[in-house]
Amino acid sequence: MLKTFPKGGIHPPENKLTSSNSIKRMPVPKVVYVPIAQHIGIPSEIVVDRKDKVELGQVIAKSGGFVSSNIHSPVAGTVTKLDMIVDSSGYKKQCIVIRTDVKNETNFEEIDYPLKKEITLEPQEIVRRISDYGIVGLGGATFPSHVKLNVKEDKKLDCLLVNGVECEPYLTADHRLMLEKAEEILVGIRILMKALHLHRAVIGIENNKRDAIEVFKKLTADEKEIQVAALRVKYPQGSEKQLVKAILKREVPKNGLPLDVGVVVHNVGTIFAIYQAIQHQQPLIERVVTVTGKQLKEPSNFWVKIGTPIKDLVEEVGGLPEGTRKIVNGGPMMGKAIKNTDVPVTKGTSGILVIHEDEASRGEPKACIRCGDCVDVCPMGLEPHLLMNLSEKGLYEKAAQEDILTCIECGSCSYVCPSHRPLLDYIRFGKSIAKKMVTSKN
C-alpha cells in the first residue's frame, strides 16, 4: 500500500500531456519585464536606473527585508524603463524592463554545467549564498528559501522532505527536471542537509511518475541517508502539510509550520536552483515552465528566463489555438487566469495552461444541497460550505473560530461541488479579512 495523506483529497484528470517531452531551451527574448514583487513578503528595491547597462546575473533589485529576495538580471542588456506592467496578480506592478543586448555573447551561452559533487562551502556560507542568489520556493508559493533555512536553535530538525509530488494536473516541469537533473538534485539535497545539519532526507514522488521514482531509487540505492517515498496519486499532496502527513505521519499543528514537527520541505525545482547557486554561482534567473493545453500544437517544457512575456511562450508552441477562452498562470487547480499575454514569467510560474472555451466556463451557481462533498474532500478537515456562508454573510469572526485561516486554498471544494458554488472565492475573501482582524487584535 502506497503512502498518502488520510483526510480528503480529490483525483482530477491528470492530463500530463508533456511528461515525455524533454525540457527545451526557450530562445532569449528581445525584451524582459522583471517585476519586483515575485515572492511572498516585501517587494525588492530597485537598484538600477534607466539606461543602465546590466550584466547577466547582476543584482537589479535588492532584498527589501528578511522575508524578501534579491532579483537578478536574466539577460545582459540595457534597462529601457521602469514601468508599471500587469503581472499575474491582474494589477499593474512595478517592473524593470531590460532590452537584451544581442551582441553580448553571455546571453546565448548554453547554461549546462558539468556535474559538481563536492560541497566546499560551510553551512552558514550556504545559507548566505542562497539568500544572495535570490532563491525562492519554485513550487508556486515563492517563499524566500533562506528564511526556511534560518532555523532557531530551540527547534529540533530531523528530516528534509523533498517535494517532487507535482500533484497539479497538466504540469510536468518538476517531473522532467527530476528525470533530466536527478544527480544535480541529489547534490542539492546534500547541500541542504549540510546547511541544516541533517542526516535524513526523503524524496516524495507520486506514483504517476514511475520513471522518476526509478531513477532516484537507482541513484540512492547505496545511500543510507536519502530515501525515496512513492506516494499514491492524490491532490493536494504537494501541499507541505499534506506531504509531511503522508510521508512521516506527523501532523503539522494548525497555524504552524512543518518546522514545528522537525521537518523542512523544499521543492525539487528549488533544490536544483540551490545546486546551481552553490556549485556554479548562478543566481535564479531562469526556471522550467510547462506550456500546455489540449488544443496546443506542441505543448512543451521550457527553460525560460524570468521576465519573458507569456506571449513569447505561446508563440513558441505554435500560437494560440482558435477558441481559446482562458490562459492560466500555473496549474488548473491553484493557478490564476491572466489578464493578457503580456504578463511576464516570474519565479513562481510553473506552467502556462491554455484552456479552450468548452472547458473554460464555470457552471451557474445553484443552491447548496447539503450533500457534504466539500466536507469529504477538504484535506484540512474544514467545512467549506459553512465557511462560505459565514464569509458571504460577513461573519468573519465566526469564520475565524471555524478555522478559516487554516484553509490552504487548494480548491478541492469548488472542484467537487455539484451546485457549482464559488466556495473558494468566498473562503479566500473571508480568510483575507479574518487574517486582518486577527493581526489587528494581536
Partner: protein, 296 residues
C-alpha cells in the same frame, strides 16, 4: 368536565402568579441603573443603525453621546444638524454644525466608453473580484460594477444603472452615512458637500495611469493634462499621479474647469444648463447637452 376546566384554570393562574413574582423579585434585585438620558437621546436619533457615526448602532451612539464630555467630534450624518441640535439641547453640550454631504460616484466608465477586455465569472461581489484581479476592463482604478455599494445601502439611495453598469446615487435619499464609501474596494465613492440645490463639481475619474494608457482604457478618463489645474482661479485643483482632484473646500463652483476638460471627465450636476452646444450633423442640427449626470 368542570373539574378539569377548573383544574387547568387554577394551575395556569397559580403558575402565572408564581413566575410573575419571580420575575418581579429578579427585576428588583438585579436592577441596573441606566441614565434616562440615553433612552431620550435614542428616541431623537434616526434609528437607522447604519453605523455612519462610527458607533455600532444608534443605541451605542446615544451611550457615547451621554458618556463623552466633549461631543464636538461626534456627528450623526443621517440625522444631520437638526438632530444634533436637539441632542445638544437635551444634553446641554456644544455640537459643531457640519455641512451636509452626499455620496458621489467618481467613475463614468460605463459599458459604452470603457471597453471590456476580459470576462469575470465569479461571485458578483466587488470585494471578491477586486481581490482576484483588476476588473473586466483595462482600467484598474474604475468601478467594477458588481454593486457592493448598492447592496450595502440601507436607505435605497443607490441603484445600478442598467445601461452603463455603474451605480447611481439618488441624492434626495442619500443620508451620507458612508457605508458605500467603506464598501467600495476602489474608493470611488466620496462624500462631498451638498451645496445649495445640490450643486456639485468633481472629477469623475481615479485613473492614475499616464494619459495615453488611461485614454485607451476609457474614453472619459482623466488624462492628467492639467488644463483644469491651469484654469482654476481658486487653486482648488491638485494634480497628483496624473490625476486631477477638486478640493471641495476651495472650489467655488465657478465651472471654469468643466469646458476645458478634453475628455469630459469633470462632472457638474444640477447646474442650470449652460449655452447649448450645437453640433453640425449631415442633415439638420442635433442638440447635444453638456450636462452629463443624470442623478438629479
Amino acid at each position: 368536565m368542570t373539574d378539569s376546566i377548573l383544574n387547568s384554570v387554577f394551575l395556569l393562574t397559580s403558575l402565572g402568579g408564581v413566575t410573575g413574582m419571580v420575575l418581579f423579585i429578579v427585576s428588583k434585585k438585579f436592577y441596573v441603573y441606566e441614565d434616562p438620558l440615553i433612552a431620550e437621546i435614542e428616541d431623537v436619533l434616526p434609528a437607522a443603525n447604519c453605523a455612519g457615526c462610527g458607533s455600532p448602532g444608534c443605541k451605542a451612539f446615544a451611550e457615547k453621546l451621554v458618556a463623552t464630555e466633549d461631543i464636538s467630534g461626534l456627528f450623526c450624518p443621517v440625522g444631520g444638524n437638526e438632530v444634533m441640535k436637539t441632542v445638544s439641547e437635551i444634553l446641554g453640550k456644544e455640537v459643531v454644525e457640519q455641512d451636509p454631504t452626499v455620496a458621489v460616484v467618481r467613475c463614468q466608465g460605463g459599458c459604452d466608453v470603457r471597453p471590456k477586455t476580459t470576462e469575470y465569472q465569479g461571485p458578483k461581489s466587488c470585494a471578491i473580484s477586486a481581490m482576484i484581479y483588476s476588473g473586466e476592463t483595462d482600467c484598474q482604478y474604475g468601478c467594477l460594477g458588481d454593486g457592493d455599494c448598492v447592496a450595502v445601502c440601507k436607505f435605497d439611495a443607490m441603484y445600478m444603472d442598467e445601461a452603463t453598469g455603474l451605480p447611481v446615487v439618488i441624492t434626495d435619499k442619500c443620508t451620507s452615512c458612508g457605508m458605500c464609501v467603506d464598501a467600495c474596494p476602489r474608493d470611488i465613492i466620496e462624500m462631498r458637500p451638498k451645496h445649495k440645490r445640490d450643486l456639485k463639481i468633481f472629477v469623475g475619474c481615479l485613473n492614475e495611469d499616464k494619459g495615453g494608457i488611461a485614454k485607451k482604457a476609457c474614453a472619459v478618463a482623466c488624462i492628467g493634462c492639467s488644463k483644469c489645474f491651469d484654469v482654476c482661479p481658486k487653486e482648488a485643483i491638485t494634480m497628483v499621479n496624473n490625476l486631477a482632484y477638486i478640493d471641495p473646500e476651495y472650489c467655488t463652483l465657478c465651472r471654469k474647469c468643466v469646458p476645458v476638460c478634453p475628455t469630459e471627465s469633470i462632472i457638474e450636476t444640477n447646474f442650470p444648463k449652460k449655452k447649448v452646444k450645437k453640433v453640425e450633423v449631415d442633415k439638420g442640427i442635433e442638440v447635444k447637452s453638456v450636462n452629463l449626470m443624470n442623478d438629479a
